[in-house]
Amino acid sequence: MRLNYPSEVKVIQVPCTGRVDIIHLLNAVEKGADGVYVAGCLEGECHYLTGNIKTRKKVEYVKKILGEIGIEPERVEMYNLSSAQGARFAEIAREMTAKIRELGPSPVRMNDPVSEKKAA
Amino acid sequence: MSELKSGSNLEKVLKAGHFAFTGECGPPKGANVEHLVGKFKHLKGNVDAVNMTDNQTAVVRMSSLAASHIMIHEGLEPNFQMVCRDRNRLAITADILGAHALGIRNMLCLSGDHQSFGNHPQAKNVHDIDSMQLINLVTTMRDKEEFINGEKIDVAPKLFVGAACNPFADPFEYRVYRLANKIAAGADFIQTQCIYNMEKFRTFMKQVVDMGLHEKCYILAGVTPMKNARMANFMSKFVPGMDVPDSLIDRLKGAEKGKQAEEGIKFALEQIEEFKEMEGIAGVHLMAIEWEHMVPEIAERAGVLPRPVV
């Protein structure tokens, strides 16, 4: 099964979404990412029991921080899907990309000549 | 008759064995003396003493001390209320001395509603002492002629000391013990929270009588006539420590259009009739909140007029 998804999405693999911390998501935004999302296992199906549930809370916290400093919280999201749902993975990638495209480039990157260059 | 503690009218009425009838009045939210005096005319001659509330529900008003003094000037007897929320022991002691100097002879000791209910929720509360310790403080000043630090007082204030009791707050089984504690602290009389659940109150009073508390203290039953079913519903749902049975709400709702207030008064009158006969009850404290003008009619219909002259 070879599914296409937008090339803008850069995948970083972690053993469990539970490993994803608040600071990782913030650092991504800080360094100029227009959006970040976490693709975790379905709720109730975490191999480590609650990794995905804990990370959903972290994602919510990051959204709160972004909201407080005037950055669209929608730039950060959490999705749940199983490893068998390849089509869903591609669909989410398209969905998220479309949403970010709508929001436009991150204001962080707009004002940052360095990351602008990197992104270019 | 044993020696009087303060010689207030309320004390004399109770000591003489009459069924006491006290009223309540809130000072104005401003310096409107005229408005305050206007309320007095409904109460004068219809009650033995009038409670003057102290920043009730933590909403700031004219000081209860000043308003009590104005009341004396108008020929009524105040029951000066004092809460521990707004004063430390220095201010409390000073106000007690001042109250006596101004001719005040009754005082009700309260902890006070939390300031979060009122119009200055940002305030720092005091609670240096609590209501139990306030009873102890004022009776120590009167009986031992000492401040609570043990220093002697040059002309001690002589006040007839009251306390509140809410039989409907939780835990119910502890309420009678807390009342006993207030009496042990020195309370001469008790005014209860508004009573609506008569069955629970009868149970409570049985405990009071079994413990002999009514022989050590005068207990006045709190009555607040309901103006309508909405008020009953509100009190039932939103006022902590208030027990309004559904049967009363239904009874008010069932009244004919425009007759809910009359039904509320009827219920209050039935209560007063029962209190007159209830063992351990020495009187009624009528809290007609912002309904002072109904007091003459209620007193008349309750058959408590004319008030005894002692």
Binding site: G70, N111 | N125, P240
Partner: protein, 222 residues
Amino acid sequence: MIVADRKSLEEIQEMIKPHRKLLIVGCKGCVTVCNVGGSKEVEILASALTIARKKENNEIEIDTTTIERQCDNEYVSQLKETVGNYDAVLSMACGVGPQFLSEYYREQKFYPAVNTTFFGGAVSHGIWEERCAGCGTCIIHDFDGICPIARCAKSLLHGPCGGSSNGLCEISKETICIWDAIVAKKIEQGRLEDLLKVRPAKDWRTARDGGPRRSIREELTR
């Protein structure tokens, strides 16, 4: 431990507005345990502030460090070499931290990044509750290990007041009536008579009311 909450990012941003080079100092003491001012939170705050300033096109340089304890000059002194390199320093310790830092480094400007709230503990993950008011005269043994000074909204020594309803305090449905709990425990242990006495007015001199407090342990002083 001492519990604190981070100030809003809006308030912190306003504080540091004039500065372009900032040091954020965390503390490995209580604020690490209550997840508000340890190394993790320091990094999060640094990142959030960096993002905010990038967005405003008013960049800021933020360095971070977390010391053992900000309430101890032995550790505070460890910042000696670096603290002068910044326009200002944001402390994520309790209120003691920025004061010790200010006293030690008189030339530098320090800001508190947290609001210090109470002495308490974690009742479950992510939830802390107040337990002690630091009144200086502990009487919890009289109340079977429950402190009415810290935990009753009115600090009553003879509760529960008339606002106690279904085990809850009159101030909110989120607050338990601690006096209800005290009475329940006394009844359960058959010691209700403990409560049936009038306690003398409390001596508040040992509390904050007696003025700023100081504790001297002669055997330790030099």
